[in-house]
């Protein structure tokens, strides 16, 4: 009778036994790309540390590096979701430029009274950024116009409005100090500084800038708390997994990963503490990175975006409202472009017509270096962030070395191509 056809074949049993080690190996292989990327970043940093004779890791330069490149990473977070959902946004540089100009006009030129307060202006600008994203996303999501075309139009439109707003070629400034703090400010030292080595005093009785060693204690404490929390939550996640009878990653791998990450983080924290402390923009960026990691890894909306990018039709037939989701991805991109624009303006202290010009390409490059697929459905937040830092470190390092800007572009182009070729090669091999 039919009972002879047992639903459990012999081969299935063999697979069950092999499952344990295979899962561990496959977890390692899938993470290899992420580790490889971080290793590449470290290698690039070490390379520039040597070629710039130690300037790269100087506390002042680290602060500069963060302040110059944070807007790329902020926008890369939005771009990652756009690219994962199978689209592209070419307009982000122009939108950032336009928002910077708008913010400057509201704060400096237009008589808005109390509404020209930097906080109010920033919020209004973020809302307008979201509206721009919605405007572009509407055509992409509901009329199925290719995002490349819609955002290419947006790129032209908003660069044009940006220039018109600033009245031709002129710049608008200076921007209020409260606003500039977004980019050039540091967190206040509520604990108070700790002087380890008193600064040298010259013959005229003035202290020599950069001499001595004073630590920004709030930074140190925040850094320690963050590292401890990271280790604690890592351990706790492991324990719950094991309690539920699932295999966690090998313990040694976990320990090495945690130690390396913590050591790196503490080193950077120490460097920041020995200058003026943590830049505000770094805190903003860090919070956003944490938020986006959480959204993409743990939240249903993140999962839906990946599913939509992987197979839009299947996602739709699984009850996912793909149109609305696409719109939301573009709204998010618009808000982050606006934030990027505010950060640029705050760093420059003024709005200029060329603000953010060409930055869309750096942002897109960061996402692709970070391992996202141009076909959609694949890509990690951490990858995009590391990709952004790779671009930033190369910009910064080559500038210090005195490499011509023209050749910097050549090098960046080669790194982008190399990273993606490596990725494709790896995939085909695997």
């Amino acid at each position: 009778m039919s009972t002879e056809i047992s639903p459990a074949p012999k081969s299935g049993v063999a697979e069950e036994v092999q499952q344990g080690p295979r899962v561990a190996v496959s977890a390692l292989v899938t993470n290899l790309r992420e580790y490889g990327l971080i290793l590449a970043l470290i290698a690039i940093m070490v390379f520039f540390q040597f070629t710039t004779s130690g300037t790269l890791f100087k506390p002042v330069n680290l602060s500069n590096l963060v302040q110059q490149n944070s807007f790329i990473i902020v926008m890369a977070l939005g771009m990652l979701l756009v690219i994962v959902s199978g689209h592209i946004d070419l307009s982000v540089g122009s939108v950032a430029g336009f928002i910077g100009a708008l913010a400057a006009m509201m704060m400096v030129i237009w008589p808005l009274g109390p509404l020209s307060n930097p906080l109010v202006v920033s919020i209004v600008c973020l809302v307008i950024g979201g509206a721009i994203g919605a405007g572009q996303g509407y055509w992409v999501a509901y009329h199925r116009i290719p995002s490349f075309i819609v955002t290419l139009a947006g790129m032209l439109i908003f660069r044009g409005i940006c220039q018109a707003l600033l009245g031709g070629g002129s710049s608008v400034g200076p921007l209020p100090d409260g606003f500039k703090a977004l980019s050039s400010g540091f967190i206040p030292d509520v604990i108070g500084p700790l002087t380890l080595v008193p600064p040298t005093v010259n013959a005229a009785g003035k202290t020599i800038v950069g001499s001595g060693l004073t630590l920004h204690m709030t930074t140190i404490v925040l850094g320690l708390v963050a590292v401890l929390a990271y280790a604690y939550f890592g351990l706790r996640a492991r324990r719950t997994r094991e309690q539920h009878g699932y295999q966690a990653e090998p313990f040694t791998l976990f320990v090495i990963k945690t130690l390396v990450t913590s050591a790196l983080a503490l080193f950077l924290v120490y460097q920041f503490a020995s200058y003026k402390g943590l830049p505000i923009v770094l805190m903003v960026m860090g919070a956003l990175i944490a938020l986006f990691v959480f959204v993409t890894k743990r939240m249903t909306i993140g999962r839906r975006i990946y599913a939509m990018g992987g197979n839009a039709k299947a996602a739709q037939l699984s009850g996912i409202k793909t149109e609305r989701l696409t719109l939301m991805v573009f709204v998010n991109m618009g808000v982050l472009s606006a934030l990027g624009g505010l950060i640029i303006a705050a760093r420059l202290g003024q709005a200029v017509p060329a603000a953010g010009l060409g930055s869309e390409l750096d942002v897109i490059a960061a996402v692709f270096i970070g391992g996202a697929s141009a076909m959609g459905g694949v890509g990690q937040v951490i990858g995009a962030v590391v990709g952004g830092f790779i671009m930033g470190v190369m910009n910064n390092g080559m500038s210090i070395m005195g490499v011509n800007v023209d050749w910097q572009q050549v090098v960046k182009g080669l790194v982008l191509l190399g990273a993606v070729v490596f990725d494709v090669y790896n995939k085909n091999k695997g």
Partner: protein
């Protein structure tokens, strides 16, 4: 006097960690139709890829002797040069190019790089005549049906002066009628001396045309049967490695009240606005009942199901849907799902799965709320759900972290099914649930269907395989040209009765 055209000796092919083929032998005589059968994952496609040079010589062990000489194909070009042409399960045609352009793609009649379209089209017309396809050579591929596309593929093979034609499940997505045409064509080629290797799941087709059958199981040749020894039972026994007395699981239907009722459902074509695809359909399904919808390809069955499922097909949809007597709104997929309706697509790769993601994420996609709180996914709960359904539907994979794109057709189908089972529907619409999957996996799917019915779900099965409908359903609707043209209890139904209803329906429609 027959001579051996192809001999594959002791072919062994290993992939990292898996021995896909071990010492497979295949001997094909000139001018015969040689069927190769085996369960999905048995190694048929791998064997054909070895033969056609997709896996270059050197990456496998063993010898290929073709027309008396040992061959070392480095790529598909080498094998095509010798007259071996393979037509894959997934057609390799460019949709936006014409029939002519597709047939001569990469092989155009040209002088100094300038294409002579007249010459190409004349040749195309001749080739189309040979395969019995009445279409203008200028017609775009996208505008003809799958059956005709298959014929274009064959015409393309003929244009390459084929001596050995390999067809990988050519009728998997064809209607009964198109399948017959194709099989007749194979018989005609045989008269002309073309040798064919036919990979198929459909045993009745093999019975009809094959001169010999080689059965492969778990990467090994089990046996080769001559025409006189071919019988379905014998083939099935060899394929699954166990005797198979009953192809459908036994079931004691316990049928309750009407769960889903569709009244006067009409749908228009999404592009050709004036064309009515579904013309006033009334059907109902009861609790614990399995209802079949029979019909030929193009009868509108899939269109009906998809329009019902959140208006996923068509325009100007009118009609009423009642769930347990109360009208419900099914105007979007999420609303339909919320009301407990699920639709398992006929085309799992295009509409069912995210092929670049793993099993776990695919299973929970239609019911993320079931594994999350406040929109935050509980990773462990999700893993537990995925493992649970993997066990329940017997998905064969190394773990739930295996990419669905790397699974065999049967296992992919089980993942799609799991996805919808986890959404916990009351009404489950299964569209061609066993298309392109092997006998063993089919039985498992039937078992799942039977279990769901006994749990009180209402199930609609759309299928082009009439024996399947007769074997697993309680009641059958027959559909033709957008209308229900017959309804019968499965006990009273037969293939002839269903066909008669279709033919009569055709007369009525015109």
């Amino acid at each position: 006097m027959t001579s051996t055209i192809l001999e594959m000796r002791d072919i062994t092919k290993t992939f990292p960690g898996v021995k896909a083929l071990s010492n497979v032998n295949l001997s094909v005589e000139e001018g015969e139709i040689h069927a190769v059968v085996g369960e999905n994952g048995a190694g048929k496609s791998t064997l054909m890829k070895v033969l056609s040079g997709v896996y270059a010589s050197g990456t496998y062990d063993g010898a290929i002797v073709y027309r008396g000489e040992e061959c070392h194909f480095k790529g598909i070009h080498d094998s095509e040069h010798k007259g071996i042409v393979i037509i894959h399960q997934e057609l390799a045609l460019v949709p936006m190019l014409s029939i002519t352009e597709n047939i001569f793609l990469g092989n155009e009649h040209a002088k100094f790089g300038v294409i002579d379209w007249n010459a190409n089209e004349t040749r195309t017309s001749a080739l189309l005549k040979k395969v019995g396809l009445k279409e203008d050579p200028k017609t775009l591929i996208t505008n003809i049906g799958v059956g005709k596309q298959q014929l274009v593929e064959i015409a393309k093979a003929l244009s390459k002066e084929v001596k050995l034609l390999i067809l990988d499940e050519p009728t998997a997505s064809l209607s009964e009628k198109d399948s017959q045409t194709l099989l007749d064509l194979l018989l005609e080629f045989k008269q002309q001396g073309i040798t064919s290797i036919l990979i198929s799941h459909k045993l009745n087709e093999i019975n009809r045309v094959a001169d010999k059958v080689t059965i492969i199981r778990d990467g090994r040749t089990i046996e080769t049967l001559a025409r006189k020894d071919i019988s379905e039972d014998r083939i099935i026994t060899s394929m699954v490695g166990r005797s198979l007395d009953d192809r459908y699981p036994p079931r004691e239907p316990k049928i309750g009240e009407v769960v889903l009722q569709v009244k006067n459902w009409s749908v228009y074509h999404p592009i050709h606005a004036e064309r009515q695809v579904i013309k006033g359909i009334d059907i109902n399904v009861r609790k614990g009942e399995v209802v079949g919808i029979a019909g030929l390809m193009g009868a509108g069955r899939t269109e009906f199901a998809m329009s019902l499922f959140g208006r996923s097909y068509g325009r100007r949809i009118t009609g009423e849907v009642l769930l347990k007597g109360k009208p419900i709104d099914v105007s979007s997929v999420s609303r339909a799902v919320d009301h407990g309706i699920a639709y398992v697509t006929e085309d799992r790769k295009t509409y069912g799965l995210n092929l670049i993601d793993h099993i776990k994420h695919n299973i929970t996609l239609a019911n993320l709320g079931g594994v999350s709180r406040h929109s935050v996914i509980d990773d462990l709960r999700e893993l537990a759900v995925a493992n649970d359904y993997r066990k329940k539907t017997n998905i064969r994979a190394s773990s739930v972290y295996q990419m669905t794109g790397n699974l065999s057709g049967g296992n992919q189908q089980k993942v799609v099914l799991s996805k919808w089972l986890f959404a916990n529907p009351e009404v489950l619409i299964l569209d061609e649930p066993t298309r392109g999957i092997d006998v063993g996996a089919k039985y498992e799917i039937y078992t799942i269907i039977a279990r769901l019915a006994s749990e009180g779900k209402a199930i609609i099965v759309i299928s082009s395989e009439m024996p399947e409908l007769l074997g697993i359903t309680d009641r059958i609707y027959v559909m033709n040209e957008g209308r229900i043209v017959g309804e019968m209890a499965a006990g009273d139904a037969s293939q002839e009765k269903i066909m008669r209803a279709i033919v009569r329906g055709e007369g009525k429609a015109s």
